[in-house]
């Protein structure tokens, strides 16, 4: 599909405004709290407005906004390129950021180092908005790294030991992910000559082993950020320890950049164009590429399924609210991954999967952030996030209760709330994937999908029941009785998100028509398919609603069983837990490390001590022969044990060199032969 592109400075502005504001905030925060908050608010608002300003050009007129800064940052210029899908991610990021900022104004009152927090908060915004707006992968990596590094400070903000350890894991996995992406990029660039993100054009020109390898490296790198199944270990630790507004953004927005990267790798970079010209130039490789995309899509589907299932299991057994929410994020990322995978798997017909993934990116950002903010209210008021110590909060915090219920209904996929729409799309996509090739495994995948959805219902019921509805337990009753309502900024922040949930829930087609469908046209998908199967899709039909009701019923049933039998209290044995395994792995690595370095130490030490003993003995022997024993320093001066191994090596080399010199001069006779 030919697309018009127009140059505009807006994407650069969207990145620069928060970055410059971060500098301003760093300076101002020493002097005035009011001005600091003012700057933070204005910067986030301005970023949102800038992103919205791109909407008419990109979506209504179908242009692609590009902007290029020459010779800046990377050897390939800093480029921006905004298409429909970029806009979705940027828009939802800056919108949720604004809500979280407003919330933060009152939440951060009881925290220290607020100046530092807000500075890095804005810098992270700059990186996060930059990721989707970037026009090539190296620029994308730049913003990705800015986001990773500056959000580390948000994670360790409280500076407790727990935060510090969680932050360590976050930081090192983040750096490793960045390096993984970087090596993938290098491989791609030097095989292929370009890193541009150009959907619908032939980007990868030739096919060899380097291309899938690069793709895998990049997917692993982005997958770390996205909490993909075996790489999720940092997530349940790092997200909960941050202050609530930061947790909301980490879980709601920043993991989406990982999903965004994976989408760009699979569904943009590797997908060949379908127009006639490209088809002829690609000739035989054309098919090969589609096949590779399809295979990768299949793997991603299963990774997604595993991720969502694992996330649900982990979430059910948590008793800390924020930890539960973080695990729930892992599970929801699994849904998004399934969408991405289906989009790749079905190749040209995969629009449904992409639509579902995009929609779920938006929905999950909204409801997970509002849940984390609600958890923030509880932490702010009570300082305790263990569900079993809470109860009856609905009387004291009715507003928060309402928000939590709305968001939970959203995440559980109840009709007329936003999660329902995207889950329906994803469910359709998975069903389509099965119908297309009739791979029996995908039928199983669909079942797991449903079970996971039911599990989601289960743990949110548990959360709401334990925290808000039941009678408070004896120990904490007094504390809870004395609670007062939420401060107004918190209410505004949460209300913004809750209203969005309801709005999307009641008008599922509005967002679909205005944002998702236009964005699909930037990918290589069958326009015919989009026209007939996605535009004007009826969400409220009997089949989808009934399957949603089945899921709800299953979840409620499991909840009832759980409450009756007290199954929630059981937790997986310690030796199976990820923390235990990770710790053991770490210990193993460290001891391997130690043994490696000790070995060299022992080796050198052995030489030194044997030299020493030889010398001591021979010195004593010589002293006995000497007529003035002990007075001669000559022998001490040439003690071989005082000289390093490398000096000896050096002397040896000199000797060899000399021998060689003689050999050159005199031939073999020179060395005495």
């Amino acid at each position: 599909m030919p697309q018009v592109s127009g140059v505009s400075i807006l994407p650069l502005l969207a990145v620069l405004i928060p970055a410059l504001a971060a500098v301003a905030v760093a300076m101002v925060s020493f002097y005035s709290t009011w001005w600091r908050n003012f700057f933070v608010f204005c910067a986030t608002l301005a970023t949102l407005v800038t992103v919205i300003c791109m909407y008419p050009a990109v979506v209504l007129r179908g242009h692609i906004i590009t902007f290029e800064l020459f010779n800046v940052v990377s050897p390939l210029n800093l480029t921006f390129r905004v298409d429909g899908f970029s806009l979705i991610v940027a828009l939802i990021s800056s919108f949720v950021w604004l809500a979280a900022t407003i919330f933060a104004f009152s939440y951060m009152e009881h925290e220290e180092n607020r100046g530092r927090f807000y500075t890095l908060f804005l810098l992270t915004l700059s990186g996060t908005v930059g990721v989707p707006l970037a026009g090539d992968f190296l620029s994308l990596l730049l913003f990705f790294e800015i986001m990773s590094l500056s959000s580390y400070v948000l994670v360790v903000h409280t500076q407790t030991d727990e935060a510090y350890n969680a932050g360590d894991l976050y930081l090192y996995l983040g750096v490793a992910g960045g390096m993984s992406i970087l090596s993938g990029l290098a491989l791609l660039y030097y095989r292929n000559g370009t890193l541009a993100i150009l959907p619908g054009t032939v980007v990868v020109k030739s096919m060899d082993i380097a291309i899938p390898l690069a793709a895998i490296l990049m997917i692993v790198g982005f997958g770390i950020k996205a909490g993909m199944a075996p790489l999720h270990i940092w997530l349940p630790r790092a997200h909960p320890v941050a202050p609530a507004p930061a947790s909301a953004l980490l879980s709601g927005i920043m993991i989406k950049t990982g999903a965004y990267g994976i989408i760009r790798v699979i569904n943009v970079l590797l997908v060949p164009a379908v127009d006639a010209e490209a088809a002829t130039t690609m000739a035989g490789q054309f098919k090969e590429f589609w096949q590779m995309v399809s295979n990768m899509g299949y793997v991603i589907i299963w990774v997604g399924i595993c991720t969502m299932f694992l996330g649900v299991i982990l979430a059910i057994i948590q008793d800390n609210i924020k930890k539960m929410l973080a695990c729930s994020s892992i599970s929801q990322m699994g849904f998004i991954l399934v969408g991405i995978g289906v989009a790749g798997y079905l190749k040209y017909e995969g629009a449904m999967g992409m639509a579902g993934a995009s929609y779920h990116i938006i929905n999950h950002a909204v409801f997970k952030s509002s849940l984390f903010l609600a958890a923030g209210v509880i932490a702010y008021k009570l300082g305790d996030l263990n569900m079993y110590n809470l109860g009856g909060l609905w009387k004291k915090l009715p507003f928060t209760t309402l928000v939590v219920i709305i968001a939970s209904l959203g995440i559980a996929g109840v009709p007329f709330f936003n999660g329902y729409t995207s889950k329906t799309l994803l469910h359709h996509a998975l069903a389509e994937a099965y119908e297309h090739y009739h791979a029996a495994s995908l039928l199983e995948a669909e079942r797991i999908f449903m079970i996971t959805a039911a599990g989601t219902v289960l743990y949110y019921l548990k959360f709401i029941y334990l925290t808000f509805l039941r009678k408070p337990p004896e120990e904490t009753r007094e504390k809870i009785e004395n609670l007062k309502g939420e401060p107004r900024p918190m209410k505004i922040g949460m209300a913004m998100l809750a209203l969005t949930i309801i709005f999307i829930g009641f008008n599922p087609n509005y967002l679909l028509d205005k944002l998702i469908v236009p964005s699909l046209s930037y990918f290589v998908f069958d326009p015919h398919f989009i026209e007939h199967h996605i535009v004007g899709i009826q969400f409220f039909n009997l089949k989808d609603i009934s399957s949603s009701i089945i899921v709800l019923g299953l979840g409620a049933l499991a909840f009832a069983i759980g409450v009756k039998t007290g199954l929630f209290k059981t937790s997986i044995p310690y030796w199976l837990g990820q923390e235990f395994l990770a710790t053991q792995l770490g210990k193993g690595l460290v001891s391997f490390w130690n043994s490696l370095t000790r070995m060299t130490g022992v080796f050198v030490g052995f030489f030194a001590s044997s030299f020493n003993s030889v010398f001591r003995n021979s010195f004593q022997l010589l002293q006995r022969l000497d007529y003035r024993p002990g007075k001669s320093d000559l022998f001490r001066a040439i003690n071989l044990a005082n000289i390093d191994f490398d000096v000896i090596l050096m002397m040896f080399i000199l000797v060899v060199a000399l021998v060689f010199l003689f050999y050159l001069q005199f031939g073999v006779y020179g060395i005495g032969l």
């Binding site: 800046v72 730049l142 800015i146 510090y164 960045g178 390096m179 490398d646 090596l649 050096m650 050159l664």
Partner: protein, 489 residues
């Protein structure tokens, strides 16, 4: 076009004259000595910049002082490669003289210190601008002598031992260079640095000799460049005052070793001869061990300066690796890393020195919570660390990107793995310092006013900002480096 001018001679002589002037002022005359030293380094930098300007316009600046034998001259010639090294060294010298003023204010023997500090500058310029291997060798020996008093400045037993080790290693290395130099002269009767090398026919007739001589060259210059089995003087020499460690052992001395290797590879042997003799791989493999092992050893160091020293050994490997890949891309990466590593490492060392001056802490384990006391310094340290790892906005990334490209281009992805591993190891030994300083609880308290003396804080901040700027504005370095590469190949 060749321009005969005595500017290169000025660049060598001005600092030495400045140093000799310092002799006439008493130990306590800091008010005169400090401005004079700063002025001398500024003038030298100005001279070097005017030379670089000529070189960038496409000229070769030459000046012959003395002709001993045909082909054996004491002469200067500034080609782009020399201009790169000379420019980087002379500009950073200004910063470190400024820094020394703050750091040395309470030290003893300041007079001796400044005299030899300036002489070293002149000698380093001599290395950079030498026209042939003979001149380079002379200055190379002189550099050892000029920096020895700086290494043993403290005068305690540790410094003495480090000094002895430094002398032995350096002279042994220089001896190997002399040995190779003599053989080279015997073979081709010429030592002038030329585009594409001077070996000519010899490559065909005596390949074995050339191979062995090449290895001795590498070992000889490799002593100063910190190639792994010959590195142990470098961590020991950290007994010197921090400005000395910073400049001499992270920027000037070690880089002169690397520069010697580059000269041998590209101006004596030439890339075609090296490819024919298949010597690039040998060096690349040798240096890969250094890169990894140095990072591993660095992780176990608790003294901050020693950790930085081992990091230097590893990072110097990047430069040699880039050169050893024998492609324009690889050499670009290596040369860019000369500039980038110099900027980053001098920032890191200055931070370490400021920490020692202000808090007296030398060990990393004592730095918990330092971010409260010295926020700007630790921010600069963060910038340096991030650059060392090679994360995007800071300049260290650029050279790494080129190196990775070169190793993929030559079809040796093993070096990409080595670079990435090294980056992860770098992260593992740099980031804990940063995170502990900012986020661990310690007993440091914030102060009002400046966190360190202004003459120390200013170079730190300026250099850290430069690292960021150079990382973001590539026109500052890349076109110049590419012109150097074009000249060399």
């Amino acid at each position: 076009m060749e321009i005969v001018t005595n500017l290169p001679l000025y660049a060598v002589v001005i600092p030495i004259i400045g140093a000799l002037l310092l002799i006439f002022f008493a130990e306590k005359a800091d008010r005169i000595r400090n401005p004079l030293a700063l002025l001398t380094s500024l003038i030298t930098a100005a001279v070097v910049i005017s030379i670089i300007k000529l070189v960038v316009e496409g000229n070769l600046v030459t000046y012959t002082l003395l002709r001993i034998l045909p082909g054996l001259e004491f002469s200067f010639k500034v080609d782009p490669l020399g201009a790169l090294f000379g420019g980087a060294a002379s500009m950073l010298w200004v910063f470190s003289v400024l820094y020394s003023i703050g750091y040395m204010a309470h030290e003893h023997n300041r007079k001796r210190y400044y005299i030899f500090y300036l002489i070293s500058l002149g000698v380093t310029m001599g290395i950079a601008f030498a026209a042939n291997l003979f001149t380079l060798y002379l200055f190379y020996e002189m550099l050892t002598l000029a920096t020895y008093p700086l290494v043993i400045h403290e005068g305690n037993e540790e410094a003495q031992k480090a000094g002895v080790r430094y002398i032995i290693y350096s002279f042994a290395g220089a001896g190997l260079v002399l040995f190779s130099l003599l053989i080279t002269y015997g073979l081709v009767e010429n030592l002038t640095f030329t585009q594409g090398g001077i070996m000519g026919e010899v490559v065909k007739t005596m390949p074995l000799v050339l191979r062995i001589v090449f290895i001795t060259y590498i070992l000889g210059f490799g002593v100063k460049a910190g190639i792994m089995p010959l590195h142990s003087w470098l961590p020991a020499a950290m007994a010197a005052p921090t400005p000395v460690s910073a400049l001499l052992h992270a920027v000037a001395v070690v880089k002169s070793g690397v520069f010697g290797i580059l000269r041998v590879m590209y101006s004596i042997y030439g890339s075609t001869a090296l490819l024919e003799l298949n010597l690039g791989i040998v060096v690349a493999v040798l240096i890969s061990f250094t890169i990894i092992l140095a990072s591993i050893i660095a992780m176990r160091q608790d003294v901050l300066k020693r950790r930085l020293a081992y990091s230097t050994i590893g990072q110097l490997g990047y430069i040699t690796l880039g050169a050893a890949l024998l492609t324009p891309l690889g050499l670009s990466g290596g040369l860019l890393h000369i500039i980038n590593h110099a900027l980053l490492k001098i920032t890191l060392f200055f931070c370490a020195g400021a920490i020692i001056t202000v808090t007296g802490k030398k060990k990393i384990s004592e730095l918990n919570g330092l971010g409260k006391r010295m926020p700007l310094t630790m921010l600069a340290f963060t910038v340096g660390s991030v650059g060392m790892i090679g994360i995007l906005p800071v300049n260290g990334f650029i050279s790494k990107w080129y190196l990775m490209g070169a190793s993929l281009e030559t079809g040796m992805p093993i070096f990409v793995i080595i670079l990435i591993t090294s980056a992860l190891l770098n992260a593992a030994y740099f980031l804990p310092i940063v995170t502990a300083a900012f986020f661990r609880k310690g007993e440091f308290k914030p102060v009002r006013g400046l966190e360190a003396p202004l003459t120390m804080l200013l170079p730190i901040v300026v250099l850290a900002v430069t690292c960021l700027v150079v990382g973001m504005k590539l026109e500052l370095t890349v076109p110049f480096v590419q012109s150097v590469v074009k000249y060399v190949f």
